[in-house]
Symmetry: C2
Subunit: 99 residues, 2 copies
Amino acid sequence: MKNPITGLNKVFDNRIRLGVMSILLVNEEVNFNDLKQMLEVTDGNLATHLLNLEENGYIKVHKGFIGKKTNTTYAVTKSGEKAFTDHITALENMIKGIK
Amino acid sequence: MKNPITGLNKVFDNRIRLGVMSILLVNEEVNFNDLKQMLEVTDGNLATHLLNLEENGYIKVHKGFIGKKTNTTYAVTKSGEKAFTDHITALENMIKGIK
DNA sequence: ATACTTACTTTGTATTTCAAAGTGCTTTTT
DNA sequence: AAAAAGCACTTTGAAATACAAAGTAAGTAT
């Protein structure tokens, strides 16, 4: 049997990062607060994972305004989309090995 | 949109634990060395994850002998099997949300 | 008998995760 | 208009986790 976990992306070991990506894959742009509410995480925790994803080039951050209020939105990058779908494929292959 | 990561099991955030489970789901009993070679991990690392899975009640350890050589095998428990398949289901649901 | 291998276990460090507290606005209250 | 409160993050620090290197104990080869 070959190694079933090759192809799994370390970045997506984490549930919250996985969740962020899965949300951003269906929604063009999502802001901090919406992500926080969807994922039910604390600010600091979410911020850390967003930073991690950004540093890996998987999401891009856009700091803008709505009126006078800051509005920071997050969106996946091409590279992030590929990394994520590759990960899902690897996951599916791993599961297929099981059935 | 509801929280996409509810149902994901924290124990399976880790690639190596995920790999161990996926191997043990198809193979009745696997020993330490085979797991190590399949997953391409170091001894200490694998041992830690196996202990974690054992402490969570997801795998059971059987220390036996082949002739005079020790032979420690690992197998999933009922609870481990359920936890894992539940996790996979949650994962599939998350992915479904994407497409 | 001695050296070497095998199969783990122990130990210590590096990394990661996470929540609480902090910061710099804006908005509301008095 | 000053003070208080709220928002949207950021920073900080502690706890948990991951990992590899070294250790151990028993078997195997020379």
